[in-house]
């Protein structure tokens, strides 16, 4: 059971409340695919991922960015049971998609940087700590069903 402080709960809800999921989803996934190109291995059927511009313009990347952000939204709405909320998603990622869990951390780092860029000075160290704690719990829950 994760212990959230009031500050962390409010901060996480506040951040996600202000995010444009379409914009941020695309930006985070695009950044991940560009900065860590080996992550492209999971998107063989996405068509043109040849360079940053192609990735940015790719509708499948945009669609999947949205899927990811909406998935995170579930965790935001179930902060006290992220593990349970993600049980099926964890099995999906380990059994079907076979994603190396290290990649979750890479995407989480890219999302942190995108949110920092959107929030600027409001993304204080304490806010960053809360946000990264949330992502760490998400990543841990996604890793749970791997064996």
């Amino acid at each position: 059971m994760v212990a959230w402080t009031d500050f962390e709960r409010e901060t996480i809800k506040s951040i996600f409340g202000k995010l444009d999921y379409d914009d941020v989803g695309l930006a985070a996934l695009c950044r991940c695919l560009v900065v860590y190109p080996w992550t492209q291995r999971y998107f063989g059927n996405f068509g043109n991922l040849y360079n940053a511009d192609a990735i940015r313009a790719n509708p499948m990347v945009a669609a999947h960015g949205k899927v990811v952000l909406n998935g995170l939204d579930k965790a935001v709405k179930n902060l006290d049971n992220i593990k349970g909320t993600y049980a099926e998603l964890s099995v999906l990622h380990s059994e079907k998609l076979r994603v190396d869990p290290d990649n979750f951390r890479l995407l989480a780092d890219c999302l942190t940087i995108v949110v920092a860029a959107r929030m600027g000075a409001d993304f204080t160290a304490e806010v960053q700590a809360a946000f990264q704690k949330f992502l760490a719990v998400v990543v841990s829950s996604l890793c749970r069903q791997y064996h």
Partner: protein
């Protein structure tokens, strides 16, 4: 993952915008690291005050950032340039190299917050590679 000509150009270009705010950025990056990754505080037990913005943290953020700024002019000879610092980190400071990645991440977060329009994915890639090269050079003498 060595630096291409394009990487060097990207790093040089964005550092022109980083330099005027270099002290703030260095201070922020170190403060954030200590707040978001509290285990890194173990390396600063000798600092009286580890709260964000404390004078010792500010000063140390400056020291680190100034050196990174210098590395921008030494991208072609990073390893020889950092040889002395590598000795220091290996024999005296003995910081686990995993922490270089942690500091690098926090530096990227601060740069993104300060320069959101300039810190595109392509530039992020180049800066990340640059910081990883510095980390490699620093760890060179570890064993």
């Amino acid at each position: 993952m060595s630096l291409s000509a394009n990487d060097k150009a990207n790093v040089t270009a964005i550092w022109k915008k980083i330099l005027p705010k270099s002290d703030d950025i260095g201070d922020q990056a170190l403060s954030r690291m200590l707040t978001v990754y509290p285990q890194t505080k173990t390396y600063f037990a000798h600092f009286a005050d580890l709260s964000p913005g404390s004078p010792q943290v500010r000063k140390h953020g400056d020291v680190i950032m100034n050196k990174i700024d210098d590395c921008v002019n030494h991208m072609d000879d990073l390893f020889p340039y950092l040889s002395g610092l590598s000795d220091l980190h290996a024999t005296k400071l003995r910081i686990d190299p995993a922490n270089f990645k942690i500091l690098a991440h926090n530096l990227l977060v601060v740069v993104a917050a300060y320069l959101p329009n300039d810190f595109t994915p392509e530039v992020h890639l180049s800066v990340d590679k640059f910081l990883q090269q510095i980390a490699l050079a620093l760890a060179e003498k570890y064993r």
